[in-house]
Structure formats: C-alpha cells, structure tokens
Symmetry: C2
Subunit: 141 residues, 2 copies
C-alpha cells in the first residue's frame, strides 16, 4: 500500500469516526464544502451541495443516540487528485428509543486539495445480509 492510499484510508476512517461520534464539527472537517459534493443516504434522494449534506448529518445526529460502524474496506483506488473507496458498513444504532442494525454497501469518493483528502461523494445503499457462516469466518479471521 502506498503512502497516498494510506492517507485516503485515513480520510475514510475519519469519516466513520465522525459518524460514530455524532460530531458535526468532525464531519465538517471531513467533507469538501463545495456545491458539487453529493451524498446518498440509504433509500434517500441524492443531496446536492455541502449545505444540504451538512443539514442531513445535523438532522441524523439530532435524532440518534448512538451509532457503531464496523467498516470492511474492499478497494482503494487513486488517480491523480481523485480517489475512491468501496467498503461495507455494519451499522448498529439507537434512534428515537429503537435499536437497529443494517448492512450497507458504500462508495466514497475523495478529492485531494492542498495535500489533504476530502470526501466529495458518499453513496450508501442496503446490501444483502451476509450468511451466518460468513460472519463466523470473519470473527475467526
């Protein structure tokens, strides 16, 4: 793994840490505040521009008691000043007094500016629930 790929995976990790911490401030540090960024939460319409994306996180954080995310990285690929990560998310959360868990497939696109990588697209959607045997294997590995 190259140094650049490590930096991208660090940016990816920072995104999920901001999510787990329910921290709007940390989320602001992760995203590029441009009108061309896009965010697709599972089953939502696409959100266009940083203002709409920021408001969505604000709303999600206000209605959530906790989130834990287990991330499985499937790919990091970099081309010049853009990169993307494909990963799985296993999300456990409590919102409005209700516990929930979800298996998510995510595509995260990053852009490098002034030497740092920023999130510019997050596309998350439901994925099939892994077979119990697969989960067991993952625990063993």
């Amino acid at each position: 793994m190259t140094k650049e790929e490590e930096n991208i995976l660090q940016a990816n990790e920072n995104f999920y840490r901001a999510l787990q911490e329910l921290s709007l401030e940390a989320m602001e540090a992760v995203w590029l505040p441009e009108n061309w960024v896009r965010c697709i939460h599972p089953g939502w319409e696409v959100l266009e521009g940083w203002q709409a994306v920021r408001e969505s996180w604000q709303r999600i954080f206000a209605n959530t008691q906790f989130i834990r995310v287990a991330v499985g990285v499937q790919l990091v690929h970099v081309e010049h000043s853009m990169a993307w990560v494909c990963c799985t998310e296993k999300i456990s959360s409590a919102a409005e007094g209700r516990f929930d868990s979800a298996h998510i497939q995510a595509t995260n696109v990053f852009h490098r500016r002034n030497g740092s990588w920023y999130l510019v697209l997050h596309h998350a959607s439901p994925r099939p629930e892994p077979w119990p045997e697969q989960s067991a294997e993952e625990v063993v590995q």
Copy 2:
C-alpha cells in the same frame, strides 16, 4: 458545459445504450477491463474486477427480454483523468415473463485513457419513488 463533460456524458449514455440493447459487446466497449473496476447492482454484493462484472451483464442479458431506461443526469464532475456522474434511472424491464419497473439512484465513475472515457465503477441502488406531481412536471418539461 465543457467539451470534456460532453465526452463523459456521451460515455454515460453509451453505457445505458448498451444496457438497453442487451449487448455484451457494447458493454465491453464501455468498461475498462481492469481488475480494480467495481459494479454494485441494486441489492447485490459488490462485483470485483472486469471478469466478474462482465459475467454479471452476461447473466442479466441472458435472462432479460427487454429493458428501457430513462436517465436523469444530476451531476457530472471531472478532475484530471477521473470523472463521475450522479444520475437517476427509471427502468422498465421484462425478465422471465414478468414486467417490472424500478427507480434507481446511480453513481458512475469514469477514467480517461488514451483520450477516451471508460466506466470503472457503477453503483446503483433503489431510490424513493417520485411523487406523482413530480413525474407530471418531468413529463411537461
């Protein structure tokens, strides 16, 4: 719109034309045949590498009588040799004697090689069905 953005949208259109024509040959011309390409069909596990992606289209085409896709482009953004398109797909299809329609949100990532743009990531997932008023507006426009 720049000339480069027009080229990317043309590549995006070629992808949907290949899908409508159920043409594996046309699909082969659209994708970059690399092991780092990825494809996420709605609700499927991620497919890794051109071989797996190609086989999925082969399987889909073999089991489908027809597909019609109405595409609504929401964004095209280019950075150096990478670009991505966010778009909606309204898909009408007939497979195994059954008619179906689906509203899809897609992220398509393209890579430029030797002056041409190739698809390297297709992430498609269900989106909320538009309100009837919205559909009516779209018809009028």
